[in-house]
């Protein structure tokens, strides 16, 4: 009986999540300076499947808008938003801390320093930027883990978080220094820090996809372990789980995925911390459900935010980091207020 009920409840959330994601993706593809119908979108997308019919009556211009401009950007939004939310949920689970976000272990500060150096050395639009940001993020998280885990009693959660604070403070200071010495980079660095989903064709999607795929596959596979870790190190150990090793694998996967998306999209805030909480408030879910739902929810949210960023004050674009918090914070506050029973 419980078995059946369980799967029925799970199925319902899966359907809601899938509908939300598909809905926002379709919105992102059809809405813009040029409105494009769902039929044209379908015909264009299917025409790129090998062996399928060509796009038929869809004009070349519409095909180009869909395939070369909107689709890569929407997919990047799904990957970035999904990865940040999923990594945020994983961090909150591993660190048993509701304030944990994907930038907890100095990833943001490290990526920021890397990006600033790349802009200062290579100039605006430097091809080095994503690589430097990615390396900065990974190096920062590695230092944080090494420092936090070196304590006499092993890698306790608190020592890792504190180590992250120290590393982030140091790298942010370094980043600020480099930025001040190269004040002409200010505008570019600032735009990167606010985050953006601008794409040039498919290259960003291609570069992010392998990392997001591996990281989210690992987190999805270990979602049950996050529930076990929620019991604390001692009880998880008593259940036969190698806590330190599992924690390292989860942190490594979440950090790698975050570093990859941060490298192309900058520091988009809010998604990683609030989407998992929003889903918790709505569904009261365990990590078994929260990890996959976070990917759907984060992806849908970022695509919607990006759509708003594009159409709010045409032809200009708002920075997406501004939109995520500007739209997301009131919505989150509303949910928090109207669902007091689950906000514990």
């Amino acid at each position: 009986m419980i078995n059946v009920e369980r799967s029925r409840v799970l199925l319902r959330w899966w359907i809601i999540a899938a509908v939300a994601l598909v809905g926002t993706v379709l919105g992102g593809l059809s809405i813009g300076p040029v409105s494009i119908g769902v039929g044209d979108i379908w015909a264009t997308v299917t025409s790129h499947i090998p062996g399928a019919a060509d796009a038929g009556t869809v004009t070349q211009a519409h095909q180009a808008i869909i395939w070369d401009i909107r689709l890569p950007r929407v997919l990047l939004g799904v990957l970035v938003g999904g990865m940040l939310a999923m990594a945020g949920a994983a961090y909150q689970g591993v660190f048993r801390n509701p304030l944990a976000d994907p930038y907890l272990l100095g990833v943001a500060a490290g990526a920021g320093l890397g990006a600033t150096l790349a802009i200062a050395i290579g100039g605006g639009g430097s091809a080095l930027l994503p690589v430097a940001a990615f390396l900065g993020a990974v190096v920062a998280a590695t230092i944080t883990y090494a420092v936090g885990a070196a304590g006499s009693r092993g890698s306790t959660v608190t020592s890792l978080i504190l180590s992250g604070v120290a590393v982030a403070a140091f790298l942010t200071a370094a980043q600020t220094y480099v930025q001040q010495r190269n004040s002409e980079t200010l505008r570019e660095v600032y735009s990167w820090i606010l985050g953006r989903l601008s794409t040039a064709g498919w290259s960003e999607v291609r570069s992010v996809l392998p990392y997001v795929f591996v990281a989210s596959a690992v987190l999805f596979a270990l979602r049950r372990m996050l529930d076990v870790l929620a019991l604390g190190d001692e009880e998880a150990t008593a259940l036969g789980v190698p806590v330190t090793r599992i924690r390292l694998i989860i942190v490594a996967a979440a950090t790698l995925g975050t570093a990859a998306v941060v490298a192309v999209s900058g520091l988009i805030g809010f998604v990683g911390i609030v989407i998992p909480h929003l889903l918790r408030l709505l569904f009261g879910a365990s990590y078994r459900l929260l990890i996959p739902l976070s990917f759907f929810g984060g992806g849908a949210f970022l695509v919607a935010a990006d759509l708003f960023a594009r159409i709010a004050i045409p032809p200009a674009e708002l920075p997406i980091g501004v939109i995520t918090a500007f739209l997301g914070a009131p919505f989150f506050a509303l949910i928090l207020r109207t669902r007091p029973g689950v906000a514990r």
Partner: protein, 267 residues
């Protein structure tokens, strides 16, 4: 059968206990008593394999250090004094965590695991709570659910740190009775720590008094719970009354307690 040989524990360089040996027979319920800080919880955690202390702990002749973590967890269930009850986790999901030792790291529960959990929920009469969040349960409900998770582990040995400390009188008795019923039903070996000496005496086969780094008294409740022993080790003044139904009742007595304190104040 649990056998502890020459076990020592240190905490921040200070010895908690040294060279402790004890044996717990299969199906027996042994309660470890002793004042705060005597090392009761540390002893329990050592038996659970959670504290790597010098000395030997064997389960049916095999050292727990030779067992894999999963294998150990299949035999020993450990319930700490204040188990974590994660917000948002439902009772059914929580009890399912008890099946972790039978799953691979990437695995998810089989039909058999779900059936085991369902039976456990029935056994502990918490079926009606299945969809509730564990963080929203009352103390008594939570204690049953935590026990259900431990039982879902299908252990031979149940280690309980202060299982009744957060409960009212009725729930204390109820919980102890549940544990005792589970013990006879599953032939479980139970080792628990407890502060309530009367309650401990009513359910334990044997009491072990841990204090000053050693086991200072061991035996049936009637042998261990004497007013002299309790006065010496707890610094408490009690009267021990023979219960007409068998067993002993430990009654704290206030006037003499005051007396002792004023005595001690005089140099």
């Amino acid at each position: 059968m649990i056998r502890v040989q020459d076990l020592s524990a240190r905490y921040d360089g200070l010895a908690v206990f040294e060279g402790i040996s004890l044996t717990v027979m299969a199906g027996e319920w042994v309660v470890i008593i002793g004042p705060n800080g005597a090392g009761k919880s540390t002893l329990l955690r050592s038996v659970a394999g959670l504290a790597d202390m010098p000395g030997l702990v064997t389960i049916d002749g095999r050292s727990i250090k030779d067992l894999s973590a999963r294998n150990r967890a299949q035999q020993i269930a450990y319930v700490p004094q204040s188990p974590a009850l994660p917000a948002g986790m439902t009772v059914i999901d929580y009890v399912l965590l008890g099946r972790t030792p039978y799953l691979t790291i990437l695995g998810s529960e089989s039909k058999h695991d779900l059936a085991t959990v369902r039976n456990t929920l029935d056994l502990l009469a918490v079926n009606h709570l299945a969809k509730r969040g564990v963080a929203t349960l009352s103390g008594g409900e939570a204690q049953r659910v935590v026990l259900a998770r431990a039982i879902a582990q299908e252990p031979q040995i149940l280690l309980l740190d202060e299982p009744t400390s957060a409960l009212d009188l009725g729930k204390q008795q109820e919980t102890m009775q549940i544990i005792d019923d589970l013990r006879s039903e599953r032939n479980l070996t139970v080792v628990s720590t407890m502060h309530d000496l009367t309650l401990a005496g009513q359910f334990a086969d044997r009491l072990l008094l841990l204090n000053g780094g050693a086991i200072l008294a061991e035996g049936t409740p009637g042998e261990v719970l004497t007013s002299e022993t309790i006065a010496r080790h707890y610094g408490a003044n009690v009267r021990v009354i023979q219960d007409p139904d068998g067993g002993v009742i430990v009654v704290p007595s206030r006037s003499t307690a005051r007396q002792v304190r004023s005595d001690q104040a005089i140099p």
